[in-house]
């Protein structure tokens, strides 16, 4: 009787151990927590998210009133295919940051083309500040500093090829 009880106890302990191990294993592979919003919420909040971005745009440039056309088109395609679309809240801030970046890159190229060294200097200074932004620190993954080396450092030497290449991706 005692032996049977002991066997049951050992078996129960083994099951518990396996369960704990499985739990630990699932923790080990758990994905980082992403904070998603619905498409409706993304569309509704993006203008205010953009306007609330931490740094100003060049004179005469406005924050967008809606998500970029490329994003809206892709969402429509996904929903037409029956997919539920989830948008990470940080993606909205990222789109605003990209709008900021593209605007200052455009300002630098425009000012340089116009021979306006004052404007160009300000624009280059703002571009260099990209890597200092809170958004960059939290949401831009670039451990090698590739963006700065490819875009800003050559621009400081008068080579805007990296800026122009980046601008091409701005749409």
């Amino acid at each position: 009787m005692k032996i049977k009880h002991l066997a049951l106890t050992i078996a129960a302990s083994a099951v518990a151990s396996i369960a704990v191990g499985a739990a630990i294993g699932s923790v080990a592979v758990a994905a980082p927590k992403h904070d998603f919003v619905s498409v409706a919420e993304a569309k509704a909040t993006y203008p205010s998210v953009a306007r609330g971005f931490e740094s100003k745009l060049p004179a005469g440039v406005r924050w967008p009133e809606s998500l970029p056309a490329g994003v809206l088109d892709s969402i429509a395609e996904e929903e037409a295919d029956g997919q539920t679309v989830q948008i990470e809240r940080g993606y909205l801030e990222g789109l605003a940051a990209m709008h900021w970046l593209c605007s200052w890159e455009g300002e630098l190229v425009s000012a340089t083309d116009a021979g306006d060294q004052g404007r160009a200097s300000v624009a280059l200074s703002r571009l260099a500040q990209f890597v200092k932004l809170d958004w960059y620190q939290e949401n831009y993954e670039d451990p090698e500093g590739e963006w700065f080396a490819r875009v800003v450092e050559p621009a400081r030497q008068g080579d805007l090829s990296g800026v122009i290449e980046d601008l091409a991706a701005c749409g």
């Binding site: 758990a30 994905a31 992403h34 679309v85 993606y91 801030e93 970046l101 090698e144 290449e165």
Partner: protein, 137 residues
């Protein structure tokens, strides 16, 4: 008067310098990123982290996805700062080849890119699955 040995050394140095100059910058700065997520079935997710890419190829290797789990498929795409996406990876089922190169023998333009991932064609609608892999930009 230079010796033959020093001339050879100079030629070798010149050849190495030429090779270094000819090497695309993007090849020297490609970086690997370990990325992952939790995804309900029949869902497309737009992720918020952006990463830089110089001109050249980009790769993704899917390392983790439940094999043949409810028949679900997984796809991933790059999305640029304008919100336009690359072609999606072409996995229609997981368990086979899991590596993917953007895009179709061409190169990915310079810029900053976020990830869009999708999971579709599955019957277990109540399940959320973990995916993970290595992105090379």
């Amino acid at each position: 008067m230079r010796s033959k040995k020093s001339r050879v050394s100079l030629l070798a140095a010149a050849a190495i310098a030429t090779a270094l100059i000819a090497t695309p910058v993007s090849a020297a700065v490609a970086a690997d990123y370990s990325i992952s997520g939790d995804m309900p079935y029949n869902t497309t997710q737009y992720y918020g982290t952006f990463r830089p890419h110089g001109i050249g190829s980009a790769y993704f290797r899917l390392d983790s996805f439940p094999q043949n789990f409810c028949g679900g498929a997984f796809q991933i795409a790059l999305r640029n700062s304008a919100g336009d996406s690359s072609n999606y990876s072409t996995w229609t089922s997981v368990g086979g080849t899991r590596a993917f190169v953007w895009w179709n023998g061409g190169t990915v333009p310079s810029g900053s890119y976020a990830i869009t991932a999708k999971n579709y064609g599955a019957g277990c609608t109540s399940h959320t699955v973990y995916w993970g892999g290595l992105l090379t930009l």
